[in-house]
């Protein structure tokens, strides 16, 4: 299975996302923001970073890129898309996911091992998790505060579109502790924490068992491979 990973100017975690795809058993395909073809990939990851320096608004300039426009078009036809951190911000700026992401409540960039609850395991990227499962994924962002109007929040909750919720600590003031969302169809998922940083023992978050041994992020990439096989 070919999983595309888009690189915008200022993208940082593209190589990490490619590594995660590889470790999960997929074939990573590097995609360039200025190309309007996604090279026929089976799914796409919009990785983390500071596309265009996150100037103006995070993800706003990248949302206009040719590759993003193509992602928007194909996502509407069901292409699985995962937006991580800056990728999530791009999805929000391209209106594939509702709401907005603003400056963290405490005003600082924060990097921490974050506990999350998987609220929805029906999406293309979460089908290998249990509903209600607690996982640990590194979080690192300066503008991860999720906001949306009351209506939108109600709709998201009613439709079970909150995929991940922060557990124990809400690190950025996100409304309803929202860490990640999906679209109606469940093929597009965006979240602030970084699953690609929890895929390899020795380089992930700390766990009860050993330092840096957490690999909960691997299931995101395995899930999409399973979804693609079953599709």
């Amino acid at each position: 299975m070919k999983i595309g990973v888009i690189t915008y100017p200022g993208t940082l975690d593209d190589r990490d996302a490619q590594r995660a795809v590889r470790l999960a058993g997929g074939t990573p395909v590097p995609l360039w923001h200025a190309d309007d073809s996604l090279k026929g990939v089976d799914a796409v990851v919009l990785p983390g970073g500071f596309s265009y320096g996150d100037y103006l608004r995070c993800g706003a300039i990248a949302a206009k890129a040719p590759a993003t426009q193509e992602v928007v078009r194909l996502a509407k036809q069901g292409l699985p898309v995962l937006g991580i951190c800056n990728g999530f911000q791009v999805l929000v700026e391209s209106h594939l996911l509702p709401g907005g992401l603003i400056r963290n409540e405490h005003q600082h960039f924060i990097c921490r091992d974050q506990k999350l609850i998987v609220e929805n395991n029906k999406t293309a990227w979460t089908n290998l998790f249990e509903e209600g499962q607690e996982i640990t994924i590194p979080l690192k962002n300066g503008e991860g505060g999720y906001i949306a109007s009351d209506e939108t929040l109600k709709m998201l909750e009613a439709e079970n579109r909150v995929v991940f919720r922060y557990s124990e600590v809400n690190p950025n003031g996100s409304m309803n502790d929202i860490a990640g969302l999906t679209n109606e169809r469940g093929n597009v998922v965006g979240l602030m924490p970084h699953p690609e940083h929890a895929v390899e023992p020795g380089f992930g978050p700390d766990t009860e068992i050993a330092m840096r041994s957490g690999v909960d992020g691997l299931k995101f990439f395995q899930s999409v491979l399973k979804a693609l096989v079953n599709a």
């Binding site: 100017p9 590594r19 500071f50 320096g53 990097c111 690192k140 300066g142 840096r212």
Partner: protein, 761 residues
């Protein structure tokens, strides 16, 4: 509108007696005279700008040069074996095996970070990363060494917030993991905080690049950000004169960083390197185009012809002098063979990086710079870049030194009962210098790139450099201004010893050294004495340990009025580990491990955290340093790591055994039962010394029961003193120290974790 009335070489001949503002530009009379002697005429105003900035303390190392030579001289052939590039280049390069090389360096951005903490610190990170990139390496991590004023002072909060946010902003946006650093508070840094930044990069041997223009006909290309009015005269006015001397202030004194532009520049440069289209490259930092043109030409033993009007500007009103001195960030100068121009253009266009061809390399010992059809610079490049003045400044033994050394901590009152000891331990642990640094470090991305094997709060940072084999590097930096104030020569060796030990406790083998020497004014003979002592100590220490200094940076004039900071030489040690999977954690993780204290403990409390926190005292003599013992200890740890005998190891430094124990507990929330009786008996010390002495060459290790016999045998064979002081107790969630009492870990954690958030919100 282009400036038209410029001072030309022709005019310099004709109007030979014109008054020039050499003084305002920071030149001394004899320096101005030597420029005239070199040129056989007065300099043009552009030449004057170039010489003044390149001959400033910051660029020319004129006060430090005679001392820095020792780093190149006190070396054995063995020490040079793996050194691919030594001092003098943008950064030293060390062969780490498997065809890979590592380059690393620390640099200061102290003065700009006081004036504008956010941008000052941000551009400090940007500058050091470009130095590393210039060597042909992909930058893979950063670290930051910070010294702030008294924590309670309102201005400290301004600086702390600005500096940490600036480093966070720039480093995170570049996608470089921050793997460690230092955060120290002391009132001596109140008006002069220290912001040092370290970067490390990795390359294949064949990708090594040098800042040289050797081939006549090659093009000189400036690329990256456009040139604007930033940091004008920043190098000479900001970095090398004291604050109260005011220079020309019309143009902004600060630089503004654009980490996004730098990230793009990094990727673009690496693509240029791999495509083999640049023959030489130099970053633009202090002294901007003046520095890049003269150094590239001088290093290559060639000359250059440059058209300054071809520099892409943000602001057309800049004068040629300003263009030559501008410190706009995120720029690079490449030397590109003509036949590679097309390939060069394709790559920079892909990354949307702007560039302009300024001129070409010539086979003549001359740097010619034109403004349109007017010649404004005509100089031998070497005289600008390398033949600046060299001073042997007066040194004087400080008048206060003997009294300071005589005022030892021996008369300070020691705790008399367990409750008092416990209270002292908690007080030290929650003092800003020993407290949890997460408030700072949580602002830094340590995960990006996916290769971070160790980072904050561990003793050293470690990153994997080969995904195939697991080959990794470790870096630790240390400096103790208080020790250096008591004895600069000993103090710098202590910093070296600590950094070396911090690398060793991770299981890596120390290999090379970098430094950033932060001192007061070199015009003060007492400061110069400190500098002389410190450089000698560092050179001697490195020779004794057999690891070379690969490069470094000197920052003088760190003082407010007449009051200098403590001498603060930051020492960074690089280590290599064959496989990062074998790294040793710093905290306790498992149940029932035996806890050993390696090394000897003396009653050494002068300059300690105990003396500072409990008695606000600084005086006496710093701890004894024995580098042979450090080496033995490092070899023991390395051996034990290879055999997999130790579960964790934590270096003992400020705050002594007490702080090391507490940190080991808090790392993974694992309790312990500790008894210090055997230690006290063996080393003939009291409880206060057992807990808080800062004796060197000591490490706390945890060993699984099954490896106990082997481990003890190893210590004996290597002659490293080893005493069992306790056992880990995971279930208890408490730290029990016999003779003091039992403290719940959440109690211990409370003050330690809250100290910085309470101060800085």
């Amino acid at each position: 509108m282009r400036v038209t009335n410029v001072d030309t070489v022709t005019q310099a001949f004709e109007e030979s007696d014109k008054d020039q503002p050499w003084k305002e530009l920071g030149l001394k009379e004899d320096e101005y005279q030597s420029i005239k002697d070199i040129l056989g005429r007065r300099p043009t105003s552009s030449e004057l700008a170039m010489y003044s900035v390149m001959w400033s303390e910051h660029c020319s190392y004129k006060s430090s040069k005679i001392y820095l030579r020792q780093f190149g001289e006190k070396v054995t052939p063995e020490m040079k074996k793996d050194l691919m590039v030594g001092m003098g280049e943008n950064a030293g390069v060390v062969d780490v095996g498997e065809g890979l090389a590592v380059t690393f360096k620390v640099e200061s951005h102290n003065h700009p970070s006081y004036i504008e903490p956010f941008q000052g610190a941000a551009t400090g990170v940007g500058g050091i990363v470009r130095d590393i990139l210039t060597m042909g390496a992909r930058p893979v991590a950063v670290m930051d060494q910070l010294r702030f004023g008294a924590p309670e002072s309102a201005d400290t909060a301004r600086v702390v917030h600005g500096v940490t946010a600036g480093i966070s902003f720039y480093g995170n946006c570049l996608g470089l993991p921050n793997i460690g650093g230092e955060t120290v508070f002391d009132k001596v840094y109140q008006g002069n905080p220290l912001v040092n930044a370290l970067a490390v990069g990795v390359m294949k041997h064949e990708d090594l690049k040098l800042a040289k223009a050797t081939n006549p006909g090659d093009l000189v290309i400036l690329f990256g950000a456009r040139t604007g009015a930033e940091g004008m005269a920043g190098v000479s006015v900001l970095a090398s004169e004291t604050f109260d001397s005011t220079g020309p202030t019309k143009r902004p004194a600060v630089q503004v960083g654009d980490p996004f532009a730098e990230k793009v520049l990094i990727e673009c440069c690496l693509e240029l390197f791999y495509a083999g289209v640049v023959a030489g490259i130099q970053d633009l930092g202090g002294a901007g185009i003046s520095c890049a043109t003269s150094e590239l030409a001088s290093n290559g033993g060639k000359g250059m012809r440059v058209q300054l009007q071809d520099v892409l500007l943000r602001d057309d009103s800049l004068t040629p002098e300003e263009i030559l001195m501008s410190e706009s960030q995120e720029r690079m100068m490449g030397i590109v063979p003509k036949e590679s121009l097309e390939a060069f253009e394709a790559i920079v266009n892909k990354w949307e990086v702007e560039y302009s061809v300024l001129g070409e390399v010539i086979d003549e010992d001359r740097l010619y710079i034109n403004w349109g059809d007017k010649e404004i610079v005509n100089v031998p490049p070497r005289t600008v870049a390398h033949d600046g003045p060299v001073y042997n400044r007066p040194v004087a033994y400080p008048s206060y030194q003997d009294a300071l050394n005589a005022n030892s901590s021996s008369s300070l009152k020691r705790a008399e009962n367990p409750a008092e000891l416990a209270a002292q331990l908690l007080a030290i642990l929650s003092s800003p210098n020993q407290a949890d640094k997460s408030w700072v470090t949580a602002q830094y991305d340590k995960y990006v790139m996916g290769n971070t094997a160790l980072a904050m709060p561990d003793d050293a940072g470690m990153v994997r450099v080969s995904e195939e084999t697991g080959l990794g590097i470790t870096i630790a930096t240390d400096a103790n201004g208080k020790y250096c104030q008591l004895d600069p020569q000993q103090g710098v060796k202590l910093a070296l010893a600590e950094a070396y030990r911090n690398v060793a406790v991770t299981g890596a083998k120390p290999k090379a050294v970098t430094n950033c020497l932060n001192f007061g004014s070199p015009e003060n003979p007492e400061v110069m004495w400190q500098f002389k002592e410190a450089t000698q100590g560092l050179a001697d220490g490195c020779l004794e340990l057999g690891i070379p200094v690969t490069g470094g940076n000197v920052s003088f004039y760190n003082q407010t009025g007449d009051v200098a900071i403590y001498p603060t030489p930051v020492v960074g040690v690089l280590g290599v580990i064959d496989d990062v999977a074998r790294r040793i954690p710093s905290g306790w993780q498992d149940e029932g491990n035996n806890i050993y204290l390696l090394g000897e403990t003396r009653d050494e409390l002068d300059g300690s955290a105990w003396a500072e926190t409990i008695h606000s005292h600084l005086g006496g003599k710093p701890p004894i340093v024995d580098l042979k013992k450090e080496e033995q200890l490092a070899q023991l740890l390395h051996g034990a790591a290879i055999q997999g005998l130790i579960e964790s190891a934590h270096d003992i430094s400020e705050g002594g055994v007490a702080v090391a124990i507490a940190e080991s507990c808090l790392r993974f929330n694992v309790g312990a039962r500790i008894w210090l009786g055997d230690l006290i008996d063996r080393d003939n010390i009291d409880m206060t010394a057992a807990l808080f002495s800062e004796s060197q060459a000591r490490v706390l290790v945890a060993v699984g029961r099954e490896d106990d016999v082997k481990f003890q045998a190893l210590c004996e064979a290597r002659g490293v003193p080893c005493v069992r002081i306790g056992v880990t107790d995971k279930e208890s969630e408490a730290l029990e120290i016999q003779g003091i009492g039992t403290m719940q870990l959440n109690e211990v954690r409370e003050g330690w974790a809250k100290a910085l958030p309470e101060l800085f919100g």
